[in-house]
């Protein structure tokens, strides 16, 4: 079968796909030719798959919560299983579209460059459905994914070469190209049926805005309510029974994912922790009695609540820690993480146009990560030069 896929063969246009599938199914047979004769068992495939595994709790809870919010909205009781199935059916098309568009482009690009298909999109493909509001039309998701994969990744050279996080570029594209679909009442709670399941009419008291959306538009002391108008507390936000993008609502599911990433050592704990520290510090600062003000309603939020709401935790755990777009030096990682946390809250509180600051904060710091690293490395270079100069003097 193989020769057909090699240059000159009938199916040579599919060589990259064939290689990709072969290395996916079988461990590459190649043995080392130069240099070290033995190699560690870990490769990028395993690394990426582990990230996908870490995303599964957030994915499953996200599906469940879509069902929870839906049946609340149409005022019908439903079993947990029904809710989950509804959510599954609602998310499945998004996942399929994300992978089909992204992988399709990757396959074509790999074939054009005669390279093996790389696994970078495995993670991006699952991140996109988790951060895009569930009511986003599929064609928009497709366009945004295509834009992000081509212009944020392939033009830079593919996996490992991108400057900006590809999933976040997808969301940013949607956010700026189709703002009306990305916020407000209608974006985050799916009220119509999912592939024929769970049809019904929406109850009168329904309001689908996310807690942060409510805070941003509130006048006076902000009160956050669920979609039926009941006030929500810290634990609703911690467990995730609130409207929002599928992956981001449950702090608990995200923390399980964080534990997987930290135990396996894939994510940098330096980045992850410093994002939380930076966010908490900034949230506490704006919450100080003389700084909080009704002009900026988000400043009235309790700091812990700030971290549980919106995409903060999801961004801190899964997006900021992307090693390709983040800072790579140890010192740089602390600075990078801290600033993401600080900027996310800063944007949230003082820019009422953007109730959610995490996406922009991470993209901003993606742009600055190389500069941070450059400064850290330059410091090392200067230190070396100084110690060399000192020695010359001694001698």
């Amino acid at each position: 079968m193989e020769p057909a896929f090699r240059p000159g063969g009938k199916l040579s246009k599919l060589e990259s796909v064939y290689d990709g599938m072969e290395t996916f199914l079988f461990t590459p047979n190649t043995t080392s030719r130069s240099g070290a004769h033995i190699h560690d068992g870990n490769d990028l495939k395993r690394t990426m798959i582990t990230v996908v595994v870490a995303l599964i709790p957030a994915l499953l809870f996200g599906m469940y919560n879509i069902g929870v919010q839906h049946y609340l909205a149409i005022g019908e009781p439903a079993s947990r299983l029904t809710m989950f199935l509804y959510g599954l059916l609602a998310m499945l098309p998004v996942i399929v579209v994300s992978y089909a568009v992204g992988l399709g482009i990757e396959f074509i690009s790999a074939q054009i460059h005669h390279k093996e298909i790389q696994e970078g999109f495995l993670v991006t493909g699952i991140l996109i459905p988790l951060i895009v509001p569930i009511n986003t039309p599929l064609w928009m998701t497709a366009v945004a994914t295509a834009f992000a994969v081509i212009f944020a990744k392939e033009v830079f050279g593919g996996t490992g070469m991108n400057i900006f996080n590809v999933a976040l570029i997808t969301r940013a594209f949607l956010f700026f190209a189709y703002p009306s679909h990305m916020s407000g009442d209608a974006a985050f709670v799916k009220v119509d049926d999912a592939l024929g399941m769970g049809g019904g009419t929406v109850v009168d008291t329904f309001s689908g805005a996310t807690p942060l959306g409510q805070v941003a538009t509130s006048v006076g002391d902000p009160v956050m309510t669920n979609i039926l108008g009941k006030p929500i507390g810290f634990f609703d936000a911690f467990f995730g029974y609130i409207p929002g993008s599928p992956g981001e609502t449950s702090m608990l599911a995200i923390l399980i994912g964080a534990a997987i990433l930290l135990i396996t050592g894939i994510a940098s704990w330096r980045i992850m922790c410093s994002v939380f520290v930076g966010g908490l510090g900034m949230a506490a600062l704006v919450h100080l009695p003389n700084l909080q003000s009704l002009t900026y309603p988000a400043s009235m939020l309790d700091p812990m609540m700030q971290l549980c709401l919106g995409g903060f935790a999801f961004g801190a755990v899964f997006m900021a820690t992307d090693p390709v777009t983040g800072a790579r030096t140890k010192v740089g990682q602390y600075i990078y993480g801290l600033l993401i946390g600080v900027f996310a809250i800063l944007i949230r509180v003082y820019n009422s146009g953007y109730p959610e600051g995490m996406m922009l904060a991470i993209l901003l710091m993606n742009a600055f990560a190389p500069l941070i690293d450059h400064c850290v490395v330059s410091f090392n270079i200067k230190r070396r030069a100084r110690s060399a100069a000192a020695k010359v003097k001694e001698g």
Binding site: T23, G41, Q118, D373, I381, R384
Partner: protein
């Protein structure tokens, strides 16, 4: 005398280690070869022709640029063949041993001249560039490592054999060639008697035994400086030369690895053919083997009908490909699939117990994605990842600034093992060093 503690690095514990320190004897080899690739930086110009008789210690070839740098015959006999590869590159110079005569050098000549003519000069390495040192340059310091920390490495105390008594003389000789000091790096529990040298103890995993790593942690090499590195066995050989006037080409070699029946030390000659060395030692029915002259990280792949390569002290034999059709290996939950990283489960059973490892790369080559992998394997105060990137992009200034003068390919060998992106780091570093050298001359 101080103790340096190194935290970075890792000791890979492979199956097939040698127990005890007994040295076995084998039949004398029927052929001996010198492989010019072992002496990086030297462009060979033959002095002997095929069919000519050579005496042990007599020059076979010299360097094109420095005619005084000689590479000598390890045994007496007939020069059987100068085997050439592509573009007339000399692959090996093969000698059929015959007779026992050997050259005696006139020790009244200047020390450097004797060393160059003896053939021991090419066993030295200089930093920068990790090449055979250029004559006429006085090194700032000399760094001697007294132990080999690489996987399944021979105990250099065993390899020293009866040459131990010459260490003191060796230090004396090298002290005369440098304005600085002769540093000897030992491991904990080792004792070396060498007045005149500064002896430091290194505690920590591989690559603590690399002379370059030891240098970087004592007195780093800066631009414009030159240091020499060598191992304690070469030091003893130099001492012996300046005591007896003769170079000993006998050597003790560790033959070990998973595919070896009884891992052991064997007494033989530099450049000995592997056929006699390994006779009856390979496990039968154990699948295809890879024979490595050297250790699994930096050694050279050799065929069973080839020869022992410099530094002539280690042969490791591992399985070539123990699982050719492994299905979805990346999804493996088996704790037997060894990985330093906790993405696999091998850490649950402990990474210190002996493991089987074959020569598969176990993944495709990728751009550098994960952070800090190289730095964790490189105890040198160097930003390894940034240095590698600077080399790949050919940025000479950056390479210099990031400390390329301090490193040798062997220092990156462990990082190459650990690299998730499966880049050929040793090749990259070697190309960077060669490029820099070409640029500077």
């Amino acid at each position: 005398m101080s103790t340096v503690r190194l935290k970075k690095g890792f000791d890979i514990n492979l199956l097939g280690a040698i127990e005890g320190a007994d040295v076995a004897f084998t039949a004398p080899p029927r052929s001996i070869a010198v492989v010019p690739d072992d002496f990086h930086g030297i462009i060979p110009r033959m002095e002997k022709k095929e069919g000519e008789h050579v005496i042990a210690g007599e020059p076979l070839y010299h360097d094109k640029n420095y005619e005084d740098i000689k590479v000598v015959a390890p045994v007496s006999g007939t020069l059987k063949e100068v085997r050439r590869g592509e573009r007339r590159h000399i692959d090996a110079i093969i000698i059929t041993p015959e007779g026992n005569d050997s050259m005696t050098l006139d020790l009244k000549r200047p020390v450097e001249e004797v060393l160059l003519a003896s053939g021991l000069w090419v066993m030295l390495r200089q930093r920068p560039y990790d090449i055979v040192p250029a004559p006429g340059v006085r090194p700032r310091d000399v760094f001697v490592t007294a132990f080999d920390s690489s996987p399944l490495a021979p105990d250099l105390d065993v390899v020293l054999g009866n040459k131990r008594e010459y260490i003191g003389k060796g230090v004396e000789v090298l002290s005369g060639l440098t304005d600085g000091k002769v540093y000897i790096g030992i491991r904990k529990g080792q004792s070396i008697d060498a007045p005149g040298a500064e002896i430091n103890t290194f505690v920590g995993p591989h690559p603590a035994g690399n002379a370059g790593v030891q240098a970087a942690n004592l007195v780093p090499v800066n631009k414009g400086e030159t240091v020499w590195t060598l191992d304690i066995v070469t030091l003893a050989r130099i001492g012996e030369l300046f005591t007896t006037g003769k170079v000993s080409h006998n050597t003790i070699v560790a033959v070990d690895g998973e595919q070896v029946k009884t891992p052991r030390y064997v007494q033989t000659v530099m450049g000995a053919e592997l056929t006699t060395l390994l006779k009856g030692q390979l496990k039968e029915d154990a699948g295809e083997s890879r024979i490595i002259s050297g250790n699994v990280l930096t050694g050279s792949k050799v065929e069973a009908d080839q020869w022992l390569r410099a530094p002539y002290r280690h042969v490791t034999i591992i399985p070539e490909n123990s699982n050719p059709d492994e299905f979805m290996g990346w999804a493996s939950m088996s704790p037997k699939r060894f990985s330093l990283y906790r993405t696999f489960t091998s850490w649950l059973r402990g990474l210190k117990r002996p493991v089987s490892m074959d020569s598969r790369i176990k993944g495709g080559e990728r751009a550098i994605v994960r952070t800090g992998e190289y730095d964790a394997m490189l105890p040198m105060g160097i930003y390894g990842e940034f240095l590698i990137k600077a080399i790949i992009s050919g940025d000479i200034d950056k390479m210099e600034q990031l400390g390329i003068y301090e490193v040798a390919p062997e220092d990156f060998a462990l990082a190459e093992f650990a690299d998730t992106s499966k880049l050929e780091l040793q090749r990259i570093v070697r190309e960077g060093l060669d490029r820099l050298r070409a640029e500077m001359s």
